[in-house]
């Protein structure tokens, strides 16, 4: 199952990122993972949060553009070589990665992938014995 990432448009000027985090904090949205893509004049924040609907709603109310993006999340053990092993499966399955980011838990690490054809990638990777996490599983981590 793919997971909904919240993607947020950010103007490139001081305070915008902070305004976003303030809104999320005020509504008790917990950010589990975050990655920022930046250009000269705008940025995109990509967030894994505990409540995607609440997050997008409150951001929209405050005039942010925020949308869902499907991403695949895999759990790996927090030890040398496990990311390498995971990516080998991607290579063998010929899945191209648009971007990725990660966060480490207490004993495991979580890898978040954006691919072009999420459904197809998910099924070929299942064939390699890789099961992606569900929204519920992520929320419980």
């Amino acid at each position: 199952m793919s997971v909904n990432q919240v993607s947020v448009f950010l103007e490139n000027r001081p305070g915008t990122l902070n305004k976003m985090t303030e809104i999320l904090a005020n509504h008790n949205v917990n950010i589990r993972a975050l990655s920022l893509a930046d250009t000269n004049d705008f940025g995109i924040a990509r967030l894994i949060v505990n409540d995607v609907y609440e997050a997008t709603n409150v951001l929209k109310e405050e005039n942010f553009v925020a949308t869902f993006t499907p991403v695949l999340v895999y759990k790996i053990s927090d030890e040398t070589g496990s990311l390498n092993k995971l990516l080998q499966s991607f290579t063998e399955a010929d899945v191209n990665i648009e971007y990725m980011y990660a966060f480490a838990g207490k004993k495991d690490a979580y890898m978040i992938f954006r691919v072009k054809d999420t459904k197809n990638a998910e099924s070929v990777l299942i064939g390699k014995g890789l099961k992606s996490l569900t929204q519920e599983e992520i929320a419980e981590v």
């Binding site: 993607s7 893509a37 005039n63 949308t67």
Partner: protein, 433 residues
Amino acid sequence: MERYFQEEIECAPIEKIRAIQNEKLVKQVRHVWDNVPYYRQKMQEKNLTPDDIQSIDDLYKLPMLSKADLKAAYPYGLLACPLKDCVRIQSTSGTTGKRVVAFYTLKDIDIWEECCARAIVAAGGTNEDVCQVSYGYGLFTGGPGLNGGSHKVGCLTIPASSGNTERQIMFIMDLSATILCCTPSYAAYLGETMKEMGLTPEQIPLKAGIFGAEAWSEEMRRDIEKTLGIKAYDIYGLTEISGPGVSFECSEQHGMHINEDHFIAEIINPDTGEVLPEGTQGELVFTSLDKEAFPLLRYRTRDICTLTREKCSCGRTHIRMSKPKGRSDDMLIIRGVNVFPSQIETVLLNNGYAANYQIIVDRINNTDTFDINVEMTPDMFTDNVGEIQARKKVLEDGLKSMLGIKAKVTLVAPKTITRSEGKAVRVIDKRKI
């Protein structure tokens, strides 16, 4: 079926309109000569007396007035009747220089409101309609003009004025408003907001909109018509001449009928002042025909458009003016090129963006900088940086081919572009020349 507020005059044969104009012009010139020393002096400088103006064929002889004259004669220099007969002023929302102050007697207001009533009826309005006036009320002519017009038609009038979008939408929905009068940018904004709230065009009770006081494009019209599920009509006017309702669109939506029993329109070459033949593009000049308090003879509007007397399917015989390409006040000269904000709007809408933008012009090291801030919309947003940049490049290329010069586009967050009195602040010119 086409409806008229004053069919007899709106559909009068051209000879009859000419006769009315001839008679009224002679009187109006005499009225100005007798009561406005400022203009009398201008006539004397050209060796003219009222006797030289026998019909509209003599109109060209009269000296023209411009915004500079209004400034020079401010505040009472062009007033043509005693203060005891004046009952109201209206003023332009202009942000530069001195405000224009126009005066009205009761009769002036009556005629102005009749003109607005013609526009409402042309948009299908009857006394069964609920008409929400969301133009600003106050000094701005939009609110008071349409309010009066709506009364004359007999619509249930909601004097909502501008701002407080939530309340506007509440009134439209709860009272089942059928006609909306406001600026096109505010109509677009209301439409966006209602769409976000999940309201479909079928759920929105509005059937017609009367939008003016700003330049807007055909693309913007289609956009508004789609989101609100209405037919959108243009209305034109200026405070100096009375206010909205100087001309208005009919069901044909192809040019605005000028109320010729009250105003004479001419098109001139803005550089030489020469009167141009029908169908030629040039600056629009108005002569009021029956104003008591603030008559203006040959007032230059700075609006660039064309006139046509071609027969209109709606049955009205009054001359039509094209949508002004842009008020020359709105026109910017950037790196020597004429830029109209309406052109930018067209490109934005054609590329999937909303018409929410702001132009910022500055001069750095003797070169004009040309920046356009464009509001990001959910439709144009993706999580992919390259994709957003590619779309922005397409937009910049589109602007370059439309305008002939390159603009730097910056994407900004929604609803961050300043709006005042419901009018979007489209241009910030920081150049100090």
